[in-house]
């Protein structure tokens, strides 16, 4: 088993994040929250009955945020730490938790933006340490050779008979 690079999430981290997202959801009255990686992959979500297509949302939000960072660079600003989209019935708030993690929040018109910003800022202060130092903590977590063999067979099955079909 080799040590893997990249973002690795363990049970303790996920439990802490889920607990905090639920609290943040309750205190802000928001409809949907998600932690995603800066490369556009979802980590965990919190929602009662609103379930947007998380994979597309994560991909687009991470890309928009990355573009925003480049805009900051062009404008000689060190960083823009949040991205906010205001709609007729809902709003989207994206903020940076760490180098590799972003927090997405959607909320309706009945929720005050200032309230979301205030509590999000506090939540990020709690979330950030959860991901700091995670590389050392997760060093023992890896995917073994069995996984590689089984995944290889699954890939063959998934793509079987699809080549060059008209």
């Amino acid at each position: 088993m080799a040590k893997r690079k990249g973002l690795v999430i363990n049970d303790r981290q996920l439990d802490l994040c889920d607990d905090l997202l639920r609290k943040l959801k309750d205190v802000t009255g928001s409809t949907f929250l998600a932690l995603i990686s800066t490369s556009g992959q979802p980590i965990t979500t919190a929602s009662d009955d609103y379930h947007p297509e998380t994979l597309s949302l994560a991909s687009l939000a991470a890309s928009s945020f990355a573009a925003t960072q480049q805009l900051a660079s062009i404008l000689d600003e060190k960083e823009f730490t949040l991205l906010f989209h205001e709609g007729k019935s809902s709003n989207l708030h994206v903020s940076q938790v760490s180098d590799q993690v972003l927090l997405i929040i959607t909320f309706g018109r009945e929720t005050q933006v200032g309230k979301v910003r205030l509590y999000t800022q506090r939540a990020i202060e709690v979330l950030r340490p959860i991901f700091e130092g995670s590389d050392e903590e997760n060093e023992a977590l890896s995917v073994d050779a069995d996984y590689e063999v089984t995944a290889g067979k699954a890939i063959d099955d998934l793509f079987a008979d699809l080549e060059g079909q008209p």
Binding site: G6, L7, Q13, L14, S37, Q41, S56, S63, E148, L158
Partner: protein, 192 residues
């Protein structure tokens, strides 16, 4: 760099289709979206201009299902090919696990192919990545056209890493899944 969520039992890999403008990156991903079992794929997201040229990226998530208890996904992205969209290409490359370089086999596209290949190296190096640490496959597309390079010539031009090379015609689907299959296995092997 894959996202491994041991707590949620998920692994996500990011694969990027790279290459010059009009080489067939979006055609590859559209063919995959059309042909693969709908239960194994998510929504195809395209950020394109009115002329259907990729402005930012195309995105297609594929699910491999549960492997050894881990839900395994491949997130496929394309980059905009035109040279002046380099800022967008850099953003899409962030966190990449595997690259499919789509080469345009037409002799008239020589300069664009080389420029795009060098640009890929520049952008990976700028973010501290190295093709030797990633999955990498070269797809020689448009093999159905006349006035095309030989495989040997394209190999010499674009394949100093001795990576797998697949001949393809993305419009008809020839080589599309073969290319994807190789890079999917590579990214898993590189990080296992």
């Amino acid at each position: 760099m894959p996202l491994i969520n041991f707590a949620a039992r998920e692994i996500n890999y990011k694969i990027v289709y790279y290459g010059c403008g009009l080489c067939g990156k979006t055609t590859n991903i559209q063919y995959i979206h059309r042909k693969i079992n709908p239960s194994a794929r998510g929504k195809l997201v395209s950020i394109a201009t009115e002329e259907e040229r990729t402005l930012y990226f195309d995105f297609l998530p594929l699910s491999l299902g549960t492997v050894k208890g881990m839900q395994t996904r491949f997130h496929l992205y394309t980059v905009p090919g035109q040279s002046y969209y380099n800022a967008s290409r850099k953003l899409v490359l962030q966190g990449v696990d595997g690259v499919i370089f789509v080469g345009d086999s037409q002799i008239t596209r020589l300069d664009e192919n080389v420029e795009s290949y060098l640009n890929l190296w520049d952008n990976l190096m700028a973010q501290g990545d190295d093709l030797s640490k990633l999955g990498f496959v070269i797809q020689m597309n448009k093999r159905d056209l006349s006035d095309i390079f030989s495989v040997e010539d394209l190999n010499e031009l674009l394949n100093h890493t001795q990576s797998p090379v697949i001949e393809a015609c993305a419009v008809s689907g020839l080589g599309v899944f073969e290319t994807l299959k190789i890079v999917c296995k590579q990214v898993i092997a590189k990080t296992a």
